[in-house]
């Protein structure tokens, strides 16, 4: 178990290093942020040059990269170009909002996706299955901005039941939460449904399920005890990664609903070529994904004795 953890930690570090290189290069491919100053009347060549130097963008890429990584190692993501404050405080200011939204969206995706997926697999090729498959297809293929706009149009504008812009003060503001979490959960419930269904189908076709039925076990025992537990490993992985994605990169939904979360922070950063902000958010998302995968890997051990004992 110790060597397993050490190995996993090492590979996690390598993953994060590669991620930092990619995001470092990608943001710089978008152009020099100082050039955005040309939009202001009277901006001169030397103003641009001064601003570039002030942000440290006149140094060579290797130099910039080394200081970027060195700062990350000390949990310092630098100063945001546009806000002038530290990226870390910006990120952690927005994090509770994103966590709130992601939590409800995640719950919606699980509550819809997993039971429907199980039903589709158990009653394969039936009416249930058609409903499930249609739902999964819609969830995966209808873009979330479209769903978001439809929700706004129906519940916000036509029926005027729910507010759809921003977030009110107070942590338990459920009214502003409903539409964005539906829009965000929608897409992920489709993915959960499809994976649960295919995973269940594979297990239900296995020999040991056949033997369970030949043993005369009640169908609920066959499904809940044997089939569900066996089909849960891939579902667990997807669920964990989904959660991180919902927290960090729910860009479209947060923009449509003006939700003050991390996704919108990232969007602001991208639009304004705010390198430290974009880099910071992406690295934080990477850390979370790598960390979650690590936790999930440890959880597998509890679910599957084969994994537990080979470590």
């Amino acid at each position: 178990m110790k060597t397993f953890i050490a190995k996993r930690l090492l590979s996690s570090l390598v993953t994060l290093l590669v991620l930092s290189m990619i995001i470092f290069a990608l943001v710089r491919a978008s152009g020099n942020p100082a050039e955005l100053l040309y939009e202001y009347p009277g901006a001169r060549e030397e103003d641009i040059a001064r601003q570039t130097a002030a942000w440290g963008l006149d140094k060579s890429w290797p130099e910039q990269y080394v200081s970027f990584v060195w700062n990350i190692a000390r949990f310092d993501y630098g100063q945001s170009f546009q806000y002038g404050t530290s990226v870390r405080s910006l990120y952690f200011d927005r994090l509770p909002n994103s966590l709130l939204l992601a939590f409800w969206a995640f719950l919606i995706s699980m509550v819809i996706g997993i039971p429907l997926g199980i039903m589709s697999a158990v009653k394969v090729d039936s009416w249930w299955d058609s409903v499930g498959k249609t739902f999964a297809l819609l969830g995966l293929s209808v873009p979330s901005f479209f769903v978001a706009l439809l929700l706004v149009l129906l519940f916000g504008v036509k029926l005027e039941w729910l507010p759809f812009l921003g977030k009110a003060e107070g942590f338990f503001d459920w009214q502003h939460l409903i539409l964005p979490s539906l829009a965000l959960g929608w897409f992920f419930s489709g993915a959960m449904l499809r994976l649960t269904r295919s995973s269940m189908l594979e297990v239900l076709g296995s020999e040991y399920i056949k033997l369970c039925r030949l043993k005369g076990l009640p169908e609920t025992v066959v499904i809940v005890k044997h089939a569900l537990k066996n089909s849960f490993i891939p579902v667990l992985t997807l669920a964990a990664v989904n959660l991180v994605v919902m927290i960090n990169v729910a860009v479209v939904v947060e923009v449509v609903f003006s939700w003050p979360g991390i996704g919108r922070l990232l969007y602001d950063g991208l639009i304004n070529r705010d390198f430290p902000l974009v880099q910071g958010v992406v690295v934080m998302a990477g850390v979370m994904i790598v960390g979650t995968n690590f936790v999930v890997d440890v959880l597998y051990g509890y679910l599957d004795p084969r994994i537990r004992l080979t470590r």
């Binding site: 040991y208 056949k210 033997l211 030949l214 043993k215 005369g216 076990l217 044997h226 004795p305 084969r306």
Partner: protein, 331 residues
């Protein structure tokens, strides 16, 4: 076993078929079979792949794959017709009164549960055995299938066992509910040759101890000679010949049985091994007349056009061939 024995299982005119492509294609996997099995008796079910052996086994459990369906016929088991009992009652009969051993020991056990858990399930669900008694029963079962130190091994998981051990555990599961019949569907096909004999001896010993009846599916006639009291030879969904092991080996009536016996390899024989020419027929497009005629060395015009009837011989042997009709006439 000449003593007054009771018939345990009697399959009469059983037809089962698979439908595909919205009913456009019908495969008659079991095409009117008849056989009976006494208590404590062992019957071998022999035939090439795809002749309906496995379907027959699953039909006895009334558990055909979703596309399959029993069309007609009766399965009398222990005094009741299984085709008439309710689904719930049928579920109780499975595991309690009949157990099954599947082909692939590596895939037959649920990887996430302990041996204890899986062996205990039939006893728990069908016999209501709980707690310490249940644990003792599992230990006894594992000991009876010769798992060393069962108290320790029962807490382990399937992946910690070898293939032979897993198949013995599947055997223990089939015995767990205290059944009257065990159906073993090619139980040794996926075992090492050295383990095969061991497993067969184990099955025979278990049968003698518990007095269960056994249906033994195989395509190995050598195993049949070792294990069984009687044999049914299947071809294209029909039983083409059945009788006692002695009669079938000494005096096979059907050309297919004769060919099967001829194709057993013999130690010290330098001649090339006999093979039956051709392939088993596609069950969706059966040949006319006798299904075996395209591969039969004795086929005549009559075999191509007319299906032969069952011919009974005095000693309980039965054969479905025009040649047997002649044999019976000539005495």
């Amino acid at each position: 076993m000449v003593t007054a024995t009771k018939t345990l299982l009697k399959v009469k005119d059983l037809y089962a078929q698979f439908t595909g492509f919205g009913g456009a294609r019908v495969v008659r996997a079991i095409d009117g079979i008849n056989f009976s099995l006494d208590q404590g008796e062992t019957m071998g079910l022999v035939g090439e792949s795809g002749c309906g052996k496995t379907t027959t086994c699953h039909a006895i459990f009334r558990l055909l794959p979703p596309a399959g369906r029993i069309v007609s016929g009766s399965i009398e088991f222990d005094g009741q017709d299984l085709m008439q009992v309710s689904d719930g009652e049928m579920r109780n009969i499975r595991g309690r009164d009949m157990g099954m051993i599947l082909q692939d020991p590596m895939a037959s056990l649920d990887p996430l549960f302990t041996i204890m858990d899986q062996v205990a399930e039939p006893a728990h669900h069908h016999r209501g055995i709980r707690g310490g008694t249940l644990r003792e029963r599992v230990v006894d079962l594992l000991r009876s299938v010769r798992i060393p130190s069962p108290e320790v091994r029962m807490r382990e998981f399937p992946h910690q066992m070898s293939g032979g051990m897993r198949q013995r555990i599947v055997g223990a599961i089939s015995l767990s509910g205290g059944p009257k019949l065990i159906v073993a569907d090619e139980p040794t096909t996926n075992l090492d040759v050295t383990i095969q004999l061991q497993y067969l001896n184990l099955l025979r010993d278990l049968q003698q101890e518990t007095g269960v009846s056994l249906i033994f599916v195989t395509h190995n006639l050598g195993i049949v000679a070792k294990m069984c009291d009687k044999v049914a030879v299947m071809y294209a969904g029909k039983i083409v010949e059945q009788g006692s092991v002695r009669d079938i080996y000494n005096n096979p009536r059907h050309p297919y049985t004769q060919a099967l016996i001829q194709s057993i390899p013999r130690l010290g024989n330098k001649d090339p091994l006999y093979v039956i020419p051709g392939q088993p027929p596609n069950l969706a497009e059966l040949p006319t007349g006798c299904a075996f005629h395209p591969r039969c060395p004795f086929a005549t015009e009559k075999c191509i056009n007319e299906e032969p009837p069952y011919v009974s011989f005095g000693d309980g042997q039965e054969s479905k061939c025009w040649l047997s009709v002649e044999d019976a006439k000539n005495g």
